[in-house]
Symmetry: C2
Subunit: 152 residues, 2 copies
């Protein structure tokens, strides 16, 4: 819960380096997200997969991984955990026996919603010092960066 503050004052070299600002703020963001989702016994990966399932419907594991930017191998582990809690159902795809079709269960939908609510609160504490306009600005800038480095 501690702020892990950068004590006195970080070196100017760092404070003016965008990559450092990014990774530092991201670290704070991650901590807040972990705290929030941790209360629901979940992590970022769980939310991402559930969100993708709700938004685009059932999909294979590989497809899910591609959509969320999560490695195939990590998808396996997270789906195991989600399936163990019945938030997700994994069934062999009759049309392509290599694939598993992953489906969001009702409980999964409910859990996703709960996660979404806590994440909304997290965004608010994360962006607390910024006005609405500034939040939009930040979002736009980051989106452009991300799109660029993602191959559009």
């Amino acid at each position: 819960m501690e702020s892990a503050a950068t004590g006195p004052q970080a070196p100017a070299r760092l404070r003016t380096t965008p990559s450092w600002l990014l990774t530092q703020t991201a670290a704070h963001a991650s901590r807040l997200v972990a705290e929030g989702l941790g209360a629901l016994d979940a992590r970022g990966y769980h939310y991402r997969l559930l969100a993708a399932l709700e938004e685009s419907g059932p999909a294979s594991q590989a497809e899910l991984g591609r959509r969320c930017g999560i490695d195939r191998s990590d998808v396996v582990a997270v789906l195991n955990e989600l399936a163990a809690k019945d938030l997700v159902r994994r069934s062999p795809d009759p049309a392509d026996r290599r694939r598993n079709v992953v489906t969001l269960t009702d409980a999964g939908g409910r859990e996703l919603r709960r996660m979404g609510e806590t994440l909304d609160r997290v965004q608010d504490t994360l962006l607390a010092p910024l006005s609405t306009a500034e939040r939009d600005q930040l979002t736009r800038l980051l989106t452009r960066l991300l799109d660029h480095h993602t191959g559009r």
Copy 2:
């Protein structure tokens, strides 16, 4: 070197969530930094400590950690590596025998400079799609967020 692209299109839920945008762009930033510094056989922690040393002069390990936002225990390990390359000298503080005084060597200064140059290039590829004004905007917004979550 791969872009690890978020395949087709990440769920809108994610793409509009600032904490996700932050952690994703930060991941790209970290990758670029790791690539750049990796060529010099260094990591982010090494640069941070060297930069702090150059900027504020010799200091104890605890002090360095506080300045850089690096945990005491991690400082130990990184200083071991830096000292092994003679980029840093670690000597007991005669005034306080609990402390080690860490000093930047000439070689350390040179290496820091080299790191700084490659990091400058990294910033440029990281921020490629943004104009100078936009880069400043981003820097200001992130700085405000960081200051806020750092206890000012």
